[in-house]
Symmetry: C2
Subunit: 360 residues, 2 copies
């Protein structure tokens, strides 16, 4: 991390603070009543009070801000007060960070469009317990505490693991909407396992689950996890999971050309173009009413095979066959997701987040 | 996991036990003195006592067995007593599991070749402390305990993080040899961070480090981690990190053909062949005296870029720029690897493991 020293962090914190000050004063100068709240004070009451919300931070802060805005009428504007560290994909162009009055002026004059960011909703069933979200930011939990926080039922794990069918509880709609992605995978603790079968992969225990896309047949899979993302999220973790390096593209084309007995012009320029086009196909617009699922590091062997590693859909169902897994929403909120539980991810128009795109 | 119920596990344990019995009796019937030790009792003394070692379990057990055999004269033979769950890549063909006397006979008659499995050695410097390996299998640690076990020095983290240069301690050769791979990445706890910059990615915090290949220039990288593997390990995790799905190969060829204005025969058969060839290029022979490094999910942005995502080499140096990272050897032993520490991975002939390849 650039400036990973303590003094470096302090410096960036000071820059952030003065950037926040600039935004607050610009708003107040324009006659707008402002309430400034820190991460820990930000809640539904604050959201209700506001006519609009300005997120002052990086992309991570935008995710946090959006997580409590479940109403598509409440505009959210992001200002990147930490440009050294955050790409600011979800924020206004970085030039407005020090010239916020200009942004305000455009907003007041209507020189902008609404940018609707489609989000995902999540139903959960078959756990037999009320799902309690664990906020990973607020609580600063150690992994042990994180796991304990999930364990709010005294149902015997062995009993649940032994069940052939999930407990027939109604699917409950979780009180979250994903702006980037929902990631499903094994948690990374090495808590009690039968000693004979101690998993040898501590930091990357394989995830076992079944997946059904758009109501299609269930398919068993084993992988490093499953990502289900939005258009917004297609530029985030999902992008890094799926993108190819020029080196890989070159090798595929070389083998393909050789196999087909044709000539391909494998110049640097050509390879760069093909690579960029391939990677661009992984990204889609924030307002598209669909989701994109991708399997991370699928493991194919005698038992498991995946037909498609990724694709677009309107609905994805996942049934956990994991010992100790969770679903993580936007890297910030997690839900227990163990053997038998079924998660359903869908796209609903009312789950869009209202953000702005200023005219050039 | 197939049979992830408690009764399923018990059944597999019983199968394992009877398979072990079969091997033991076969050896005793052949007049060979046998000592049977469990995981927890397996140590250097046992290895010294033995003329040869038979690993009875799956591939995970073979890794554990090999981890205490640092002498290339001691033959190790793997018998897959858990074929339902383990692929047994490191073991004898599965038909010998129930017909071990046949395997013994071939061994006694010399109807086999030595299969040398090249391993990797690891030097560590710049931590200012003696590196204590943490055995992740034996200790069944929670992640919190795992981190505590690493913290055997009271050197102030901030001081170390603030240092521009690593503490000048001599590089120490670690008492481990990697049979599959060394994986370097951020640990996955969310312990104390300055609240302003709480990392939003709990389960997949990016790893920051610098890498130098074969003595080349240092390059800053940000990714989901770095894998350095052997020929043996090239069929394990490294393979799953790097392999491509037919779907991806098809897309690359489609774009490449279109871009170049040529026709490629994108039949299922053709795509399967190209995909298989590509994936086969990721695998190399266990006895090859070289290592293969690959970057998992490289993150490219304004600050970081990777020239090559993977490649063969004789030596790889990695300098940590991580908050809380570790090096994990064969998924079983981990070492703290924080800001400033430098790991050097090399290939040495004396680090080969002596295993057998029975004649057909």
């Amino acid at each position: 991390m650039k400036g990973s020293s303590y003094s470096g962090l302090l410096e960036r914190h000071n820059i952030h603070t003065s950037n926040v000050e600039h935004v607050v004063q610009s708003l107040q100068s324009a006659g707008i009543e402002v309430r400034v709240v820190r991460r820990g004070e930000y809640d539904e009451e604050v959201v209700r009070w506001a006519d609009a919300i300005v997120s002052a931070g990086g992309d991570g802060t935008m995710l946090l801000v959006a997580s409590k805005v479940l109403n598509k009428d409440k505009p959210v504007v992001g200002v990147n007060t930490d440009p050294e560290r955050s790409e600011g994909h979800l924020c206004l162009p970085v030039r407005y960070t020090h010239a916020f009055p200009e942004a305000l002026e455009r907003l007041c004059r209507g020189e902008f469009r609404w940018l609707w960011r489609q989000r995902l909703r999540l139903h959960l069933e078959g756990t037999g317990i009320n799902p309690t979200p664990v906020d990973l930011h607020e609580q600063q939990l150690s992994l042990e505490q994180h796991n304990r926080a999930h364990r709010i039922s005294t149902v015997d794990r062995q009993q649940r693991a032994g069940a052939l069918h999930p407990a027939y509880s109604k699917p409950s709609l979780l009180p979250v909407r994903s702006l980037n992605e929902i990631f499903i995978g094994e948690s990374l603790s090495s808590r009690a396992q039968l000693k004979v079968f101690t998993p040898r992969l501590f930091l990357h225990r394989a995830s076992y689950y079944e997946i059904s896309v758009d109501g299609g047949p269930w398919e068993k899979q084993k992988s490093s996890g499953l990502s289900v993302c939005t258009g917004t999220g297609s530029k985030a973790w999902s992008y890094n999971i799926n993108k190819l390096a020029e080196q890989s593209v070159e090798e595929v084309l070389r083998i393909g050309a050789s196999q087909a007995g044709v000539e391909l012009p494998l110049s640097r320029e050509f390879l760069e173009k093909v690579t960029d086009d391939y990677n661009a196909s992984l990204v889609f617009a924030p307002d598209e009413p669909r989701l994109f699922y991708s399997v991370r590091e699928p493991i194919s062997n005698r038992v498991f095979s995946s037909s498609r590693q990724r694709g677009f859909a309107s609905k994805v169902c996942v049934r956990s066959r994991c010992w100790d897994a969770c679903m993580v929403v936007d890297g910030g909120t997690s839900f227990e997701f163990n053997d038998g539980a079924i998660a359903t991810v869908t796209v609903s128009e009312e789950d869009r987040l209202r953000t702005v795109l200023l005219d050039q």
